[in-house]
């Protein structure tokens, strides 16, 4: 078996990368991709712990997460398309109508 800490490191690294992407990328699609990345990292974490603790709950929860991720991305991309249609851009820095 692969040792738990290594898998957790992997999950943490992926998660951090995702966080960086969410916070720092200008392209909205890339932000969504980063969110996917974060969700997948969490999945890895859940399965790893399920395996380590011999509990099937981890895998079940991971399935839930995948479902939610899929739905969420669908909606997210729909929103991005609409923004593009209205603003001619998907640069998140330029969508700041609620600025003071």
């Amino acid at each position: 078996m692969i040792r738990l800490p290594l898998v957790l490191f992997l999950s943490a690294a992926l998660f951090s990368t995702g966080v960086y992407g969410v916070l720092a990328r200008r392209n909205a699609v890339l932000v969504l991709m980063s969110i996917e990345l974060m969700l997948n990292a969490v999945n890895i974490n859940l399965v790893a712990f399920g395996q380590a603790l011999h509990d099937i709950t981890g895998q079940v929860f991971a399935l839930f997460v995948i479902t939610v991720a899929a739905a969420e991305v669908g909606i997210g991309l729909a929103i991005v398309i609409l923004i593009y249609r209205n603003r001619e851009t998907i640069n998140v820095d330029e969508v700041n109508l609620l600025k003071w």
Binding site: V22, L23, V92, V95, N96, L98, K99
Partner: protein, 653 residues
């Protein structure tokens, strides 16, 4: 004195004597103008009925036992002080009510003629009846508060009657002078009453009860002496003794019937009656009190008699004569119980002949339309009835036997001699001489010689002459009531604790008759040939002093009236305007300043604080709004930071 065991009808109904004139006053006031005769009939009927009752009361003392009758109604009670309304009738009361009702009836009838056609005829009778009622209340009263009520009502009626013709400023000023001067005497009088009530422990003002306490030694001599002196103050005011005699001559501005009733026979006698009724206070006081009374009487007697010498107005001669005769009575009072009887007898006789003289002078004034004797003369042929009655009155006043004045003066002289009051004896005798002199002067100037006036004087109407004749008759016979030869009946009615023996001392009788005749002779000698100039003017400075009333009026005016009226009131006014109003206005200004300060504080500080708080909110908002950048990623950063912080906190805990 003991209480009468079986009072007859007259005594039980004696309260009516004072009540009937009061009722007639009210009646005349409301329906007088509509009655035929303009309301005079009610007063005459009431006073006439009172006279009958009074004579009945006197009769019960003639036939019946000696003593007193007292009846009262309890009125109310203040704390311990018991107020009542009641009558106290003894010989003195009987005498007084007869005098008051008789003279009042004479004046009521006389005024029918004298005041005919007067502009306020009905009101005159109203106040006349009211006055009679008040005087009777004083005389019949059994307690001091009731006496005081009657006393003050008399003062008011005197004021109203003197100022009857108030359109002339002189009359209203005289009325005010009379009222205020007697008031000045009333203040010590009231304090005297208060002391007497205090002696009873503030339980009652009943006169017999006070008498029992005082005579029984229930009060210290000092307290009783103080009370006596203060009560005498009331007498000085009301009975016009020195130094409060100044109002009586000016009171002659009133109608002559008023002068006869009030200022000759009754109201001024009230002061003497007071001393007589409360004599026990005077006898139980320090002897110096009675000496002071005697001194006041003596000074007044001589001073007033001298002032009567230099008057041109016939009523003023009689006014000063009244003051002098009242002083006789006061001096008599000062000589002890025997003198009290003598003084009250003189009051009795004096009322009749002085009223006669005043009413007679009224008839003369009515005929010649002037008061001044220098414009009269030779009236004895034109007004015979008036002349003869006036002559009888003058002889009585001078003290010629067997008329009334002789007996009363003689009795006073006897008391003075037997009591060892040598000075008073001389003063009394001297004044008798002076009295005879000035009355002779008056008679000669008015009725003899040539007529110096204008117009055609005629005899007075019958209502007036009838009264004069009645009074003259009374003057002739009433003196005999006190003559020792006929048993001195008067002394059996009026006595203090025990009967006084009336003596007839021949040499004194001769001396007083000689004094009277001497005065008459002197007057005749000087005035028989009176033409224009009064012979007394030759006396120069003495004449000036006396005719200016010893400058006493000027002293009062410059020393008391003017400073109070002008300076004191101006000073008080200044104080009120500047200082008192200044304080009030200053307080208001202070409050306004304080209000301004509070307002400033409220607006600047408090509102500033509230507004400042609001401004802080706005300012903080202005700073905080920069958080909202509109950049979603920025928001996500905050979110993640918060999660991390929370994670750290929860894993540490």
């Amino acid at each position: 004195m003991r209480a009468i065991a079986d009072p007859g009808a007259f005594l039980t109904y004696s309260w009516l004597i004072a009540f009937l004139p009061a009722m007639s006053a009210v009646l005349t006031l409301f329906i007088g103008k509509r009655t035929p005769g303009k309301g005079s009939v009610y007063g005459i009927a009431a006073v006439g009925a009172s006279l009958v009752l009074s004579l009945g009361v006197l009769w019960s003392f003639v036939e019946g036992e000696r003593g007193f009758y007292e009846a009262s109604l309890s009125w109310f009670q203040i704390g311990q002080l018991h107020m009542e309304v009641g009558v106290y009738v003894d010989g003195l009361t009987a005498i007084m009510v007869v005098v008051v009702t008789a003279i009042s009836l004479c004046v009521h009838v006389y005024s029918l003629g004298y005041m005919k056609g007067d502009v306020r005829f009905t009101w005159f009778y109203v106040v006349l009846s009211l006055f009679t009622s008040a005087m009777l209340v004083v005389v019949l009263s059994n307690n001091l508060f009731q006496l005081l009520v009657g006393w003050e009502v008399m003062g008011v009626c005197s004021y109203l009657l003197i100022g009857h013709w108030w359109e002339d400023h002189v009359n209203s000023s005289s009325a005010i002078k009379a009222f205020i001067t007697t008031r000045v005497g009333d203040v010590p009088f009231m304090f005297g009453i208060f002391i007497l009530i205090f002696i009873t422990g503030f339980t009652t003002s009943n006169i017999p009860e006070i008498g029992e306490i005082v005579s029984g030694g229930g009060a210290s001599v000092g307290l009783v002496s103080a009370a006596a002196l203060l009560l005498f103050g009331g007498t000085i005011g009301k009975s016009a003794q020195f130094p409060l005699h100044v109002w009586l001559p000016d009171a002659m501005a009133g109608p002559t019937p008023v002068s006869a009733l009030i200022h000759a026979a009754t109201m001024v006698a009230a002061g003497v009656y007071l001393v007589g009724r409360l004599f026990f206070v005077f006898t139980d006081a320090d002897p110096i009190v009675l000496q002071i009374v005697g001194i006041v009487g003596g000074i007044t007697m001589l001073g007033a008699a001298l002032m009567a010498f230099v008057q041109d107005d016939i009523k003023r001669v009689l006014a000063y004569s009244t003051i002098s005769q009242l002083a006789y009575m006061v001096a008599g009072m000062s000589m002890g119980p025997a003198g009290r009887t003598g003084g009250l007898f003189h009051l009795f006789t004096h009322a009749f002949f002085k009223a006669l003289l005043f009413l007679g002078s009224g008839a003369v004034i009515h005929a010649v339309h002037t008061n001044n004797m220098s414009e009269m003369g030779g009236l004895r042929k034109k007004m015979p009835i008036t002349f003869w009655t006036f002559l009888i009155g003058s002889l009585a006043l001078a003290g010629v036997p067997p008329l009334a004045g002789f007996w009363s003066k003689d009795e006073l002289l006897v008391v003075a001699d037997h009591g060892g009051h040598q000075v008073l004896f001389v003063v009394l005798l001297l004044t008798a001489l002076l009295t005879a002199f000035y009355m002779t002067r008056a008679v000669l100037m008015t009725f003899f010689g040539e007529f110096r006036g204008h117009g055609e004087p005629h005899e007075a109407p019958r209502t007036m002459t009838g009264v004069l004749v009645a009074l003259a008759t009374a003057t002739v016979f009433v003196g005999l009531l006190g003559s020792p030869q006929l048993g001195a009946v008067f002394g059996q009615w009026v006595f203090f604790e025990e009967l006084e023996e009336a003596l007839f001392v021949p040499w004194i009788a001769v001396a007083s008759t000689l004094a009277a005749l001497l005065g008459i002779a002197a007057g005749y000698g000087l005035y028989n040939s009176y033409r224009e100039r009064d012979p007394l003017r030759s006396l120069g400075a003495a004449y000036t002093l006396v005719s200016n009333k010893y400058y006493l009026d000027d002293i009062y005016w410059k020393g008391i009236v003017r400073p109070v009226r002008d300076d004191l009131s101006a000073g008080v006014y200044w104080f009120n305007q500047r200082i008192l109003d200044g304080i009030v206005n200053g307080t208001a200004t202070l409050t306004k300043t304080l209000a301004n300060g509070v307002s400033w504080f409220d607006q600047t500080v408090i509102d500033g604080a509230v507004n400042g708080l609001a401004n802080i909110a706005g300012f903080t908002g202005g700073l905080l709004r920069y958080i909202q950048s509109g950049n979603v990623q920025r928001y996500a950063v905050f979110l993640f930071t918060g999660v991390v912080v929370l994670a750290i906190i929860f894993t540490r805990i």
